[in-house]
Amino acid sequence: MKKVIYTILTLVSLASLCGITSCSKDGYSEMSPSTGTGGSLARFTISGNYLYAVDQNALKTYRTNTDGSLNHVSTVVLGADIETIYPYKDKLFIGSREAMYIYKLNNPELPEFEQMASHVRACDPVVAKDNYAYVTVRSGNTCGGTVNALYIYQVDNLNYPQLLNTYSLHGPYGLGIKDNTLYVCDGAGGLRIFDVSNPSGATLTGTRAGYTFYDCIPYDYDNVLICMVDGGMVIYDISNPQDPVFQSQTF
């Protein structure tokens, strides 16, 4: 009987160890309970056992070790003005001022180019879900260009992303997606809420004003939408994703 209890205890402790170091085979960050969630403006992201960082012109891959050390294992030079990185399943979506790049992680130590979509010169964070990528482009002094819009691309089994739709916006920064709801941080234009059940026919269903919105993270813990706004952070309840309800702010 004691043996059985010890076996169970060992199994339980092994399982909890997996929670810390993640034993996930597929290496998808969203499946690892111990990996955090970043926003769409991030230049660092973790997928599986790897930290991916985009600096000004390169994608760098670091193996994360259980003792905390990092091994720099590869550098892929991408081109000028890289700004953001977003992991989704076995891919990395990378935003630059000229294009959106998609790299696949068949070999997580050496991301491999898969496809890209050039676009007008602008700042452009990207998020992805299922077979679609959502990109915002913003014009202005540091970004260049004259277009402010949301672009929706189909990115499955194609040699290049197919542009399905565009929506004109005020001056969009980051974005976040939860189920069929897309949140776009449209600067002083507010938080835009889109229904993307049918991505090619995505519809704007609401706006939350009162702040200048830069980025947001739909976070399953506590059903919240965490938004970076001018001044600090604002939290919304998104138990109903289409209807964010203000909860609190940090400033």
């Binding site: 990996t35 955090g36 970043g38 926003g39 973790i46 930290l51 994360t64 259980t66 993270i217 400033f251």
Partner: protein, 173 residues
């Protein structure tokens, strides 16, 4: 003398440090770099929570929410009933990015990437450092065009600029 300054300027420009005009140095109110010594720049530590001054990127992990304080560190909040409670401030000069896996927080300390053990947020520990690996090409230029005091890298890392009177300045952009 003018020729000497010009050739110095051309040297500076050729190695991309600064650009120059043809004139002699000026004496006056100019932008002066603020430095942190290399050891100060690496001083990473837990502190009591601070108010947000120049809020940067955001991150969520377990019941914690994080916001970068541009170039100064990381605000840590604990999410309680959908409300972020100020919890800690982790001083990391030069920080602009973060990502977390397990109990390890990865962030940039200027151009280095460091791993912080956050299992005890009262006392974060630097577990590793990869030096000179994250280059954002952040310019070492002052906020306004005009004359400025040239950067002297032997004094440390430039963390900001202030205007000072009666300074001799040769750099200009």
């Amino acid at each position: 003398m003018k020729k000497k300054i010009l050739s110095l300027c051309l040297l500076g420009m050729s190695i991309g440090l600064f650009s120059c005009n043809r004139g002699a140095p000026i004496q006056g109110t100019v932008w002066v770099p603020k430095y942190l010594s290399k050891s100060e720049a690496r001083d990473i530590r837990s502190k009591p929570p601070q108010a947000v001054s120049s809020g940067g990127k955001i991150y969520a992990w377990q019941d914690f929410v994080f916001q970068l304080e541009s170039n100064a560190g990381i605000h840590v909040y604990k999410l309680v009933d959908q409300k972020p409670q100020p919890y800690k401030f982790i001083q990391v000069y030069g920080a602009q990015e973060l990502s977390i896996r397990g109990n390890y927080l990865y962030t940039n300390n200027f151009t280095d990437i460091v791993t912080l053990d956050i299992s005890n947020m009262d006392q974060v520990l630097v577990k590793s450092r990869v030096e000179n690996t994250f280059a954002l090409g952040t310019s070492t230029l002052p906020p306004q065009q005009g004359f400025f005091q040239c950067v002297d890298t032997t004094k440390g890392i430039v963390v900001g600029w202030e205007k000072k009177n009666n300074i001799e300045a040769t750099c200009k952009y």
